[in-house]
């Protein structure tokens, strides 16, 4: 590549970037995503204020009521208000979902970056390990691990981290492999920069954008996992209100009180929808040319 | 003109749609006729509109590009207003197209024999076995050695020259009356180019098919075609028999093309490139499109667009200053 051409290409790219950032508030996908997720976060944060009842307190005499004016979604078999549990459940599922991506993101990206950048036997070893983890279906390991580690939030984080770091490793490695060939890396090398500096300052930002975009869809997957675990009675244990657990509770009475199994699921659908839109919107922003 | 023209393009204009404004005009008021068995060349630079013209005839304009006005008559019927199914029925037995880059123009997952047989099966109603036999026969006629074995090959297993022969076999499989060739030899090695051209000429003779040959290579047109149209910025600027046009061009652009092209008969002749660049079609200026680069331009050329008019028997040109051009030539 001749210098004038490279300069022209770089200039065009920068111009395209400013153009896309300027129009972010026009991006329908991004705005709907922000709206939905924003609303959910607000609901979760203000749960103590919004929820009409305590989610854990039992009132056995009021059990299994259909939706009425005192209990808009009815009560479950322990007499707990379903709506309040739904609202408080948002706290649990959203919080854990967001936090659970962090460790895999960091750990996987670092390993993937090392594998891609240094190559050689380091690459082979790391990628073989990645292959092995990929051989296990996500849910099998997560369920087994949570079972082994016992219930509670910490085991969820550990179990998810143990399994989902591999996707980040693969993505980052792929991006690094591509980035390595680019001229700006050769230029940095010639300039005498250390490997670490090249990785962090030069390759890092370009490569991480893909990992971030994947991370958004990963949050959705993690929320799914948490809800599934809750459904099976693992992870977040009763009596804490959690959407998956609520679906399991509701399944018993599906013939009469179908709302109790249906509504929490809808909550998950809406949450995932909002997060997907948000992820797509961010993806448009960061790398518009890659999205199809 | 004794025989009824097989293909008649009249006032054809093609444009690229733009949201919120007028379309960008890519071809403007193209007019030409092809008689049965004739060999017609369309010459021009990239962006002159020659490919688009061909694609409009074939009905294969890319997304966003449409015919703005005009007619394309085949055997007296306008292809543009015909129902789609009837038009599709013509594609193969009447009109066929050969594309430039055979690697991308052939389906990578289908054996070449099957691809050649596809047209006959659809249009001629041949059975699978009969169509396959026909395909092998066509491959032999296009000079592909070991045709039976090669028919089972996939496109990526063949060389460029062989692939182009496959394309030719495919186009000719239903014995069309008009062959539209869009730079069929441009992507080939020079040595192979010559062979493929000769092959194309021979087959057109055998099938008595008309050939519309789009290219930027003047030598090829000289060898293969009898008549030609020269296109610049979407307009036909000169039309006439190839030998006459090349011997005595009647448009500054044609003259510029000839002066800048190497000529084997006069190897020591200095090549004179045409100064400047083709115009931006999205921002057309009034007057003759070639004016900014024309050595004979006058203020009148900038104000009024020259129409394509007869300048000699069988020859047309779109220029106001032809007399000065002829004068300079004689000098």
């Amino acid at each position: 590549m001749t210098t004038p051409t490279a300069a022209l290409v770089a200039f065009k790219q920068r111009r395209a970037k400013t153009r896309s950032i300027k129009a972010w508030y026009r991006n329908g996908t991004l705005m709907s995503g922000i709206a939905i997720v924003g609303a959910l976060v607000l609901i979760a944060v203000f749960a103590p204020v919004i929820a009409p009842y305590d989610p854990i307190e039992q009132h056995l005499s009021d059990a299994l009521q259909p939706p009425n004016w005192q209990h808009l979604l009815g009560t479950d078999k322990f007499g707990r208000d379903v709506l309040s549990r739904l609202i408080w459940g948002a706290r649990v599922d959203l919080r854990i979902g967001f936090l659970a991506v962090l460790i895999p993101f960091v750990f996987g990206s670092i390993l993937g970056g090392i594998a891609g950048y240094f190559g050689g036997w380091l690459d082979t070893v790391i990628m073989r390990i990645v292959d092995i983890f990929f051989a296990f279906p996500f849910y099998v390991i997560v369920i087994a691990l949570v079972f082994v580690l016992g219930s509670g939030e910490a085991s969820i984080y550990l179990a998810i981290a143990a399994v989902s770091w591999v996707s980040y490793a693969r993505i980052v490695r792929g991006e690094v492999l591509v980035a390595k060939q680019q001229d700006y890396v050769a230029a940095a090398r010639l300039g005498g920069f250390s490997n670490a500096r090249i990785l962090v300052r030069h390759i890092g930002p370009n490569v991480l954008s893909q990992a971030i975009i994947y991370g958004m869809s990963d949050i959705v997957m993690d929320i799914m996992a948490i809800v599934t675990l809750g459904y099976l009675g693992l992870g977040i244990e009763p009596p804490t209100a959690e959407w998956g657990g609520m679906i399991a509770d509701g399944q018993e009475f599906i013939t009469t009180l179908w709302q109790q199994a249906t509504i929490p699921g809808l909550a998950v659908v809406v949450t995932s929808l909002g997060l997907s839109l948000l992820g797509d919107g961010i993806s448009d922003l960061i790398s518009p040319e890659r999205r199809k | 003109m004794a025989p009824e023209p097989l293909l008649r393009v009249r006032e054809l204009s093609i444009g690229l749609r733009r949201p919120g404004s007028d379309p960008v005009v890519l071809v403007e008021h193209a007019n030409f006729e092809i008689a049965p068995g004739e060999r017609f060349g369309i010459v021009g630079e990239s962006g002159s509109g020659k490919s688009m013209t061909l694609r409009a005839v074939a009905g294969l304009l890319p997304k966003g590009v449409t015919v703005l006005s005009g007619t394309v008559e085949y055997a007296g019927r306008d292809l543009l207003t015909m129902p789609a199914s009837k038009r599709r029925a013509l594609m193969g037995p009447d009109i066929a197209m050969i594309f430039q880059e055979p690697m991308t123009a052939l389906d990578p997952v289908m054996r070449v024999g099957e691809q050649i047989a596809e047209g006959p099966r659809r249009h001629l109603g041949l059975s699978r076995a009969d169509a396959h036999a026909l395909a092998i026969d066509m491959m032999r006629r296009t000079g592909i050695p070991d045709a039976e074995r090669r028919a089972r090959a996939f496109p990526h297993e063949l060389s460029g020259g062989l692939r182009q022969r496959v394309m030719i076999a495919m186009a000719l499989s239903c014995s069309p009356k008009v062959i539209l060739a869009d730079e069929p030899t441009t992507a080939l090695d020079v040595t192979v180019q010559h062979q493929v051209l000769k092959l194309l000429e021979r087959l057109c003779d055998e099938l008595d098919a008309a050939l519309v040959f789009v290219t930027h290579d003047l030598a090829v047109v000289n060898q293969t075609c009898r008549d030609l149209a020269v296109m610049y910025a979407g307009k036909i600027v000169e039309r006439g028999p190839v030998k006459e046009v090349f011997a005595a061009p009647r448009h500054p652009y044609t003259k510029g093309l000839l002066d800048s092209a190497p000529d084997f008969d006069r190897p020591k002749r200095q090549l004179i490139p045409i100064p400047g660049f083709p115009p931006n079609l999205a921002a057309r200026e009034p007057g003759c499109p070639f004016r900014p680069r024309c050595p004979f331009a006058t203020p009148h050329c900038a104000a009024v667009e020259p129409p394509l008019e007869p300048v000699a028997p069988g020859r047309r040109s779109a220029c106001f200053e032809i007399d000065r051009l002829i004068a300079e030539e004689v000098a």
Binding site: D131, A135, F138, L149, Y231 | A105, D107
Partner: protein, 319 residues
């Protein structure tokens, strides 16, 4: 043409270290917690005597590497231990459940393709217009649904309110199986379709913009015929890779679906053994599931090679 398939033995050989890794992980699942696994296994039934007895009988007092070797040795002889809850050899129980899960997964794959291919074609034929937007909305919603919840909803709609299909179970005859497995397979099929549709749609759009589609049109091909002869096979190629990668996920989902619909496959076995703390069973099922995924990976490569004549995996170095 079959010489392109000669990579298969190599791929199988390559899979062996991965399989070893799998056995390693499966073995160590028991030893994740500090302390005696036997203690963890017995849970609240633990007494010092019971723990001691279980420790010796499981060989937990031997050095770790020796335990692993013994474990491997047993594996190779087909001995996966005995289930603590069923009191029967694990291998037999797993082999009984395996065909059920296999049928479910294949059924789900077929239903997924039946749903996805027409929807993807609809979206790809007119990108950016109404059909495309509708399909995209469908995929967005589909991705957001927990699979087990979708299963419950389908039961609610088609087995409780309108009693077309059974609520759960497996049936006795082969035809019965197909009837009973329809809702669960449909659930999994719908859950998988967003991924397939997205990939197919994208590759179909690419294919439709290719030169060779122009050539096909110049021969008079159009509409459904064009799709069938030229578009589908070319578009399927990149999709096969993506579906292959996601099949592992599909298998994971089947575990939970089997629980929801009470289907006696590997999934139910796994979930029940987790609740029963039946460790040898958990190990056995996990091992088989992982092996299944590895085999699916190799099968994906084979299908990919068969679909795309340009591909020759035998010349590639270890990927």
């Amino acid at each position: 043409m079959t010489h392109r398939l000669r990579f298969v033995p190599f791929r199988l050989l390559q899979a062996i270290p991965v399989v070893f890794g799998v056995t390693f992980i499966v073995f160590f699942m028991a030893h994740l917690l500090p302390g005696n696994p036997a203690l963890a296994l017995l849970g609240n039934q633990a007494t010092p005597a019971k723990v001691a007895a279980l420790t010796t009988s499981m060989g937990l007092d031997k050095p770790l590497w020796l335990q692993y070797l013994l474990f491997l040795g047993n594996l190779l002889r087909g001995n996966l231990g005995d289930s603590l809850s069923y009191q029967e050899p694990v291998l037999g129980l797993v082999l009984n459940a395996l065909p059920v899960t296999l049928l479910l997964v294949c059924y789900a794959l077929v239903l997924s393709l039946v749903i996805s291919i027409p929807l993807a074609a609809l979206a790809a034929a007119r990108p950016g217009r109404m059909p495309d937007h509708s399909v995209r909305t469908f995929t967005l919603l589909g991705q957001g649904m927990p699979q087990f919840w979708l299963g419950i909803m389908l039961i609610l709609l088609l087995a409780v309110n309108i009693k077309i299909f059974p609520v759960g179970g497996y049936g006795d005859t082969a035809l019965d199986h197909l009837y009973y497995l329809f809702l669960p397979a449909l659930t999994m099929g719908i859950a998988m379709s967003p991924t397939v549709i997205r990939s197919l749609r994208s590759s179909m759009i690419s294919v439709l913009e290719s030169e060779y589609i122009g050539t096909a049109r110049s021969k008079g091909a159009a509409g459904a015929e064009l799709f069938r002869v030229h578009v589908l096979r070319n578009a399927a190629i990149p999709t096969v890779s993506i579906v292959g990668v996601n099949l592992g996920y599909l298998v994971g989902g089947s575990l939970i679906i089997e629980h929801v619909f009470a289907i006696p496959g590997l999934g139910s076995l796994m979930v029940n053994s987790i609740f029963a703390r039946d460790f040898p069973m958990i190990q056995g099922v996990a091992l088989f599931v992982a092996l299944f995924v590895v085999i699916v990976g190799i099968l994906t490569d084979i299908v990919y090679t068969l679909l795309d004549p340009r591909v020759d995996l035998s010349t590639k170095a270890a990927a």
